[in-house]
Symmetry: C2
């Protein structure tokens, strides 16, 4: 498996564009992803009871297991917009379908930005027309820029690997300064591949990989109305169709997993106001659910996150968060490391020079490892610290 | 029921003291509560797997349903201190018992402050001796000052009411800048009463009232290793013993509830870095559990809390938090108010002038009400906003 460039246009047969249509104050704000041929398609969406219009529309369309294009706008989430929002979401798909001469059933859409405000449809329609004109085989980068909100960097990842003598590619892009944007938490991710695979199996690959990547990511614990992960597979690599239970599926699944992991880690690294990237590893837990609960509780703790911002090896806050999680925790069996430095062994602090304990905290990337000592399961949560700028970004933004 | 002064010495037969023994950098840091006669006693403690030594010791002792004195120190939590911590906790009780000539079984203790550091026992023993000398009938205020950590104000509440022709008093004190202190989340609360009631029934009164008061309080969602609520009843009012199912129990239960509520609200108001006091009411939920889940999810959301700090009527963040809670939420049935201003009706934003929507946000006290429209249950969460000072207090404190 080789890392390559190109994001959503790394895979053959995909085109993309990213243009400005004037929804945001500045910068590109409309992206289009398009496959020259029909695709299998699958999606995973937010479980929030308040779902954006696009989530409702996409969920309906994806029951067919296929799609060929996705229109994405930033600057307006089209959420809490009632019937008008649903009509607008459908209209976006219809309008793009007409212009690119495919059935509207094959066009999906996604939105991110302010909520409770109707989409500026005139601007968006003009934008779609412009984006169709600009579609290109190397439009992946432009598209990744057009979906950003408070993100400070575009986020793409792509890999290629051999399958039955053919080169198969999987690539994607995502946005999300963690789970959040100034007005509404949103993580959007789009992945394309030139593998040949059914919609059903594609869905399985997505679901199996989202748990240890995007679902293990947190900036502030807030889950959005708009969170979406959509994947298209067009078969343009000419590889044989990937079937369930095969070695090919394993290879493919691994590549999808790596793209998801890269993009989730990029989101944590770009968390709002983040000064540190943090991986919380919980090992030797009684079950995966236990390990995940402990890792996410630690990663979501404001006390832990502010201590990391302050570069303080405050292990008590980490153990305290583990202790209130749903995991089985036996204090006398619990050990803790900052980086490679063992701080707590079997529930009691080791005698360590303050400078030695603090050293890992000074790095830009921090690994926290909690060994629960009661089993053999492990999980990692991806997060960042909690700084003045998080408060600034989220308090000073006015609706 | 009349509000009175006096905190833990409002009820007859109780004495208290608050003195400095030198654990903290400055200020009083050791309190003693004492009853002239034997008391029924009950306690409610943290469910964190990492429990402070005092929690383990108190839980053992309270199996008898009685106690007569409590030693409380601030500045050191005596948590994650292993066997040494347990020995120190027991030693505190033994030492105080000797000086006040009661069985050590009748002495409890509680601690709050830094963790993972052994208690300075010499200072504490000298402090206990000093506190025993200073015990007085109006020592409630001094005691309430000695248990503070990052609290900016002492917190007491007391009421008196008639029971069978006798005047009964219930009073208490607590500490906790929300659920947290610089190094370790801690809420400590002590309530005394001169009612006559069994330990078992006292426990019932505590448990029935803690759910809608302290367990509905959050500053940052972190739960401590040391959280404790201890209540003593000495019967000095000469009222007849309160029995289960009686009107007297109802009256008593209500007074205990009011003291718990006052103290929990005082903690939210004094949350670390708080500039606003916030009550999140969820009404017309399908069940109390649903209402509580939605209210606490909203109250814990960093996005909601930073919006309140920014005085921004960002209703989308509130609905989004409700939507990811465990409550049954049907968008088209959900309405939202800031103060008395209805912002969202049946899932759609109303056309309101920005100034009108923002007006309630400018007040020092904010009521947020979410009407789920799917049942008749309600719950209130008590919290505060999330400011730069929260980050400052928790990032700049170094272990």
């Amino acid at each position: 498996m080789i890392k390559i460039q190109g994001g959503v246009t790394a895979a053959r047969g995909f085109q993309a564009a990213g243009i400005r249509c004037g929804i945001k104050q500045q910068g590109p704000d409309l992206a289009l992803i398009y496959s020259r041929t029909q695709c299998s398609a699958a999606g995973v969406f937010t479980t929030n009871a308040f779902k954006a219009a696009s989530i409702i529309v996409n969920t309906e369309k994806l029951q067919s297991g296929r799609a060929r294009a996705v229109v994405v706008n930033s600057g307006n989430a089209n959420a809490c917009t009632g019937d008008r929002g649903l009509r607008d979401s459908r209209r976006i798909c219809d309008f793009a379908a007409d212009l690119i001469h495919i059935p509207t059933q094959d066009v999906l859409n996604a939105s991110t930005g302010v909520i409770g405000v109707a989409l500026p449809m005139q601007k968006i329609e003009a934008g779609i027309a412009n984006a169709v004109d600009k579609l290109s085989d190397d439009g992946g980068e432009a598209a990744s820029l057009a979906i950003m909100t408070t993100d400070t960097v575009p986020k793409t990842s792509a890999y290629e690997f051999e399958l039955a003598g053919k080169t198969v590619r999987v690539g994607g892009m995502c946005k999300g300064a963690g789970m959040i944007c100034p007005n509404m938490a949103t993580m959007l991710c789009f992945i394309t591949t030139d593998a040949a695979i059914s919609g059903q199996l594609l869905r399985r690959a997505l679901e199996s990989n989202v748990e240890r990547s995007f679902n293990s990511l947190t900036v502030d614990g807030d889950m959005s109305t708009n969170d979406s992960l959509i994947m298209l597979a067009n078969g343009a690599s000419d590889c044989p169709e990937i079937v369930d239970g095969s070695d090919d599926f394993e290879k493919f699944d691994k590549a999808v997993g790596q793209v998801c992991l890269d993009l989730a880690m990029a989101c944590a690294r770009d968390g709002e106001g983040a000064t540190k990237y943090v991986e919380v590893n919980v090992v030797n837990a009684a079950s995966y659910a236990d390990a995940k609960s402990a890792a996410m509780t630690i990663a979501n703790s404001p006390l832990v996150k502010t201590a990391i911002f302050g570069e303080d090896p405050n292990w008590g806050r980490v153990l305290c968060a583990a202790g209130r999680s749903e995991a089985k925790v036996i204090p006398e069996k619990t050990s803790l490391y900052f980086g490679d430095v063992k701080i707590v062994e079997n529930g009691e602090p080791l005698a360590i020079a303050p400078d030695a304990a603090r050293k890992p905290m000074l790095e830009k990337n921090l690994q926290i490892t909690v060994d629960l000592g009661v089993g053999s399961s492990r999980a990692t949560a991806f997060t960042c610290d909690f700084s003045y700028d998080y408060v600034k970004i989220n308090a000073e933004y006015h609706t």
